[in-house]
Amino acid sequence: MNKIIELKNVTKSFDGQVVLDNINLYIYDNEFLTLLGPSGCGKTTTLRIIAGFETADEGDVIFMGENINAVPPHKRNVNTVFQRYALFPHLNVFENVAFPLREKRVPKAEIESRVTEMLHLVALTGFEKRSVTSLSGGQQQRVAIARALVNNPKVLLLDEPLAALDLKLRKDMQQELKKIQKATGITFIFVTHDQEEALSMSDTVVVMSEGRIQQIGTPVDIYNEPKNAFVADFIGESNILDGVMLDDRKVSFAGHVFDCVDTGFGKRTPVDVVVRPEDVDIVPEAKGMLRGVVTAVTFLGVYYEIIVDIKGFKWMIQTTDFVDVDEHIGLSIEPDAIHIMAKSEYSGMFGDYSSFSMEMDEIGELEEEQLEELGELVDPDEPAEAPAAESETDA
């Protein structure tokens, strides 16, 4: 596979605040790559630097082997699908899609056939004369994709293109985007804060936080082998515990020595241990490797989500067996369900469910601005994560 875009040591700050800190990234021809991270992590800035709307303070952007640092947006062979579509309201559907072709002075007949083809690709045949403002969100989204693709770019940049759509439509568009990417063979760089979206669509996921790349890998790798506590927490649910690697395949955490499958950490090395909630088996208390008390049970349709207090650390466990609150249960964990990570700056910040509630989870998914508005509602003395961090570092 060919590298189509390389970012080398890209650094960018706004008003003295570093938003990208030494980013190094290869993007291969034909792949569907997702930049994933919470808002403010630098994913959109990365995209805008590739598109040419921002210039990096330091570092190089290489496009097909050529440095394009100084190439303005209109001369780059990449196109963007904007977050709120940015369709031109004074032009109809056809003219929006034809816009880049007219700019290139493509012959009329060719414009006609290429636009028609594109509208067919995004299932909007028959909408040519419609005003873009009269379209639904999903239809506008399709016009934006058609417009960005009509120029046959080498790379398509998508800036949270599905964020404004409702859940059902979003799922459909995910499928469709994946299909379009396969059909056209164009490299897609997709920005999202939705981990499920990232896992289900991408060939490669780049997890970012605070202007730095945390991990690059396939969705399966990222989920099963998170590199640090941030990635483990951001992708799916995880119980993250302080542990000590006693030897290869032997790890001690939560007051018990477990068999595991990881090697190469050395002897008596402090590590972070990740156990996914669905990988824990509930057994009678006497047979459990760990023993604890159920403190909360939530029915979620397919399974129950229960919180178990084990020596003061709250575990989240997903199970199809019903247990009751205050029940004493035992837990059993298979060696391959235990994932060991080296200590990082994120150690101790995530992975305890002691202050967990569904509501807090939802708030966590809101945009930052909305969070500020909600600021008054959340009790400032009881932040969701800080006490957990303290209790863990103390332990």
Partner: protein
């Protein structure tokens, strides 16, 4: 929501207050005698008189010439200024420009007029000109007091515009300048047109600033009216007022009717679509 009877009565009284004086002028412009209180018979005499009044006709031509040229220039410069202000990054420069832009709008007309006149007279004396006030000084004055209104119409359109639009145009192959012409200009065009119309009407209507900056040779319609009302007035004045009233009425009706027309067309299109969908389902 229906209006309550009391509200209806009150609005009627307000409208009576606003329109009674104009209606009286209108009626007495057709009066045979010069009396302003007794209507003694219908005549078009005063209208004929008016159209024979060369000075008034010349003032009308002057007014139109001034209004057209000042509004076009003010719109061009004001639109460019709005674009520049919108892109300005420096907060201080922006605040300074905003303040200066506001001055002609807050300052009483008489002070704007006096201040421009003093400068023109002073500069004229420097160059030894006998009369320094002429068409050019009036044009400058009219552009100056129209500019803030143009800027105020265009700036909000720029601010409302999705910032991604010009970026999208560049992304699709436009140079920054082409992106401006092809995307930003169509977006702000309604604001530019409103600004142009405002500048035009402000110029047509202005008396105070014109009064101080007009030379002896150049008389606009409001100054002509002022000179007419200085002496004893003939109903010729009323004829002029009546004509002005109907011109304004016609302009407003045309602009409103064309609005209604687009409304109606949209509604019709929507209904057609609905009917089609119903037939298909």
């Amino acid at each position: 929501m229906k209006m309550k009877p009391l509200s209806k009565v009150y609005t009627a009284l307000v409208l009576l207050f606003l329109f009674a004086p104009i209606l009286i002028l209108l009626v007495f412009s057709f009066n045979q005698s010069k009396s302003l209180s007794v209507f003694s018979g219908f005549t078009l005499y005063w209208y004929r008189e008016l159209f024979r009044d060369a000075e008034t006709l010349k003032a009308v031509r002057n007014t139109l010439l001034l209004a057209v040229s000042s509004s076009l220039l003010a719109t061009a410069m004001g639109t460019a200024a709005a674009v520049g202000i919108h892109r300005l990054r420096s907060k201080y420069l922006r605040a300074a420009l905003d303040t200066v832009t506001n001055i002609p709008m807050i300052n009483p007309d008489i002070i704007t007029g006096i201040s421009l006149m003093l400068m023109f007279v002073f500069v004229g004396r420097l160059f030894g000109a006998a009369t320094s006030l002429n068409f050019a000084t009036m044009l400058i004055a009219h552009i100056t007091f129209s500019l803030p209104y143009v800027i105020l119409q265009v700036l909000p359109k720029l601010q409302q515009m999705d910032k991604a639009l010009p970026e999208a145009a560049m992304d699709l192959g436009c140079t920054p300048l082409r992106a401006f012409w092809k995307v930003e200009i169509p977006e702000i065009l309604p604001g530019v047109l409103t600004g142009l119309i405002m500048a035009f009407t402000l110029s047509l209507d202005d008396f105070v600033i014109s009064y101080f900056t007009a030379g002896n040779g150049f008389q606009t319609l409001p100054i002509r009216i002022y000179n007419m009302t200085k002496k004893t007035v003939t109903p010729k004045m009323y004829a002029l007022a009546t004509i002005i009233f109907f011109v304004i009425l016609a302009l407003l009706l045309i602009s409103n009717l064309s609005d209604d027309d687009t409304d109606r067309k949209l509604k019709a299109a929507r209904e057609k679509r609905k009917a089609k969908r119903a037939a298909a389902g």
